[in-house]
């Protein structure tokens, strides 16, 4: 394991210090407790958005702090959800009097820690609503599990709900649009190689030279099944099939197609996958009207990718297109 780090214990502190140094035009970093807020926070009268979770998924979430997206991000240690303290501190720091939306990925740890923070914030007189993201179709039978996981689609919720808050929607409305995005999107991921958590020093799972892991989460967890390496097109068809049939997406639907890299897969390969996914959707009469390709929700240096589909209507399209100014997603200003 080779990593560009100093002490594994200092990864988070040093990384957010780097974020502060690189993006002081957009955001401010608080240390101990660790959180990242947009420079203009609190924006009086605007619903504030707070998200967070374990580190190692960069640019999620800190890369999405800024105009039109998150007001604060709360990074925990690598792959470990933050405790309630920094979530509470961030929530207080960004509340502009219109309430705070917590965007939480569905993992027991994230849900419980955000829940505690929300209770404490409410006790301090801040209105908090939470939306729990669960876009991962790899986890099938939600009755017998902790439920579907929240994965790459989280960035779409953050963008679209962020735009709703930016245009002045109230807390109920922002929460409703976040729930709508969550309901209309599905994701699934594949790993070609595992990742290595800095303090662990060994990969989370082993893959032979000719094996890939289908249905992985974003924490180096093993996936739903292990199969032999296949050509990119077959892998895409396989996971896109699970996604399309889940909601299902049908002919005539307009969708946002998001091909997300897990961190270690070169962009050139993501485009190969994107090409196939776009082709396959066109073949089914599903129209790709918005796109996103790149490393947005990663698992450290894992090689692999995920596909997310979001069914779009005019409202969601407009909110997607609305200006955003963060370090990792920016347009319109």
């Amino acid at each position: 394991m080779k990593k560009l780090i100093n002490d594994p214990q200092h990864v988070l502190d040093e990384a957010i210090a780097g974020v502060a140094a690189a993006h002081s035009d957009i955001l401010t970093v608080s240390h101990d407790p660790n959180y990242i807020v947009r420079n203009s926070a609190p924006v009086s009268g605007k619903v504030a958005l707070v998200s967070g979770g374990g580190s190692g998924h960069e640019p999620l979430h800190g890369g999405f702090v800024g105009f039109g997206m998150l007001d604060a991000a709360v990074p925990g240690p690598v792959f470990t959800s933050p405790t309630p303290d920094p979530i509470l501190a961030a929530t207080k720091a960004v509340d502009g009097g219109a309430g705070v939306l917590h965007i939480v990925k569905n993992y027991t740890g994230d849900v419980l820690n955000f829940e505690t923070a929300a209770e404490l914030a409410e006790a301090d007189g801040i209105t908090v609503r939470s939306v729990v993201i669960n876009d991962d179709v790899a986890v099938k039978d939600s009755l017998y599990t902790a439920g579907r996981r929240g994965v790459a689609g989280t960035v779409l919720v953050e963008k679209i709900a962020g735009a709703a808050a930016q245009r002045g929607d109230d807390l109920e409305a922002v929460a409703a649009v976040a729930e709508k995005v969550n309901a209309q999107m599905r994701s699934m991921g594949v790993a070609l190689s595992p990742c290595i958590v800095p303090h662990a020093g060994e990969p989370s799972f082993e893959l032979a030279d000719d094996e890939i892991e289908i249905g992985i989460g974003i924490h180096g967890e093993p996936g739903r099944e292990r199969i032999k390496l296949e050509p990119a097109d077959r892998i895409v068809d396989r996971i896109l099939g699970h996604i399309v049939e889940d909601i299902p997406y049908v002919s005539g639907d307009k969708v946002l197609l998001f091909v997300n890299g897990m961190g270690g897969t070169p962009l050139v390969e993501l485009y190969i996958a994107f090409r196939r996914a776009a082709e396959a959707l066109a073949g089914q009469g599903i129209e790709v009207t918005r796109t996103l390709v790149g490393n947005y929700v990663t698992s450290l240096e894992m090689q692999g990718f995920s596909i997310t589909l979001l069914k779009l209507d005019d409202e969601l399209t407009e909110l997607w297109d609305a200006p955003v100014h963060t370090s990792a997603l920016r347009w319109g200003r």
Binding site: S81, T83, P84, Y107, T108, T145, P222
Partner: protein
């Protein structure tokens, strides 16, 4: 004569020691069916507890358990932080104002902790979580108490039952937590949270024996 706050203090100190000693093992258990951080998480929490405990000069058992609760909540993160945190918090509440802990108090501590964890995590027995260590431990402690056993014997019964419960998670399919995503692939692996529970309850018994 029952146990005092000194026992609670010793329990916590011993807990910090065994968690540190088993950090690597707990993380290793979390790797195949979780995300490989349980040992780190628990160790971060108990490492933070120790100096706080030292600066708490006086304090009842309830005070000590509450200190552990608050520290775990604010340092562990992940699933285990809020779950153990709530457990210790409820345990503290169960013996609030008691200077001396008799057998009934110990059963109350264990039951309250378990109930707090269930309240937050909603896990049933057999879902391959730390509850599969806690619930047998509570039952064994209650049984030992009913049979008129000593405080030490009650804690030893709880520890042994928790250890057996942790081992018994191995053949299970998980229904809660990260391991639940794995379906049948979780079979054959011991639940890391059940294992840390077994370590903590053995520390409780050892603290009473010392």
């Amino acid at each position: 004569m029952g146990l005092t706050s000194e026992w609670a203090r010793a329990w916590v100190a011993l807990s910090a020691k065994v968690i540190a000693e088993n950090r690597v093992e707990l993380t290793a258990l979390d790797r195949p069916i979780g995300d490989g951080d349980h040992g780190e998480n628990m160790n971060r929490g108990f490492t933070a507890v120790v100096p706080k405990l030292d600066s708490l000069a006086e304090g009842s058992a309830a005070d000590i358990l509450k200190l552990v609760a608050m520290t775990l909540i604010s340092t562990v993160g992940g699933a285990a932080g809020p779950l153990y945190g709530t457990g210790y918090l409820k345990a503290a509440g169960a013996v609030a104002g008691q200077d001396e802990l008799d057998g009934a108090s110990l059963v109350a501590i264990l039951a309250a902790a378990r109930d707090g964890i269930v309240l937050r995590g909603k896990a049933l027995v057999g879902e391959k979580t730390m509850i599969d260590a806690w619930t047998p431990a509570v039952d064994a402690a209650a049984e030992a108490h009913a049979a008129g056993k000593s405080e030490l014997e009650i804690l030893q019964a709880a520890a042994s039952a928790a250890e057996a419960g942790a081992v018994a998670t191995e053949p299970l399919i998980a229904r809660k937590g990260r391991a639940s995503y794995l379906g049948e692939r979780a079979i054959g692996h011991r639940d890391p949270g059940a294992q840390s529970t077994a370590l903590l309850l053995r520390a409780a018994a050892d603290a009473a024996a010392a």
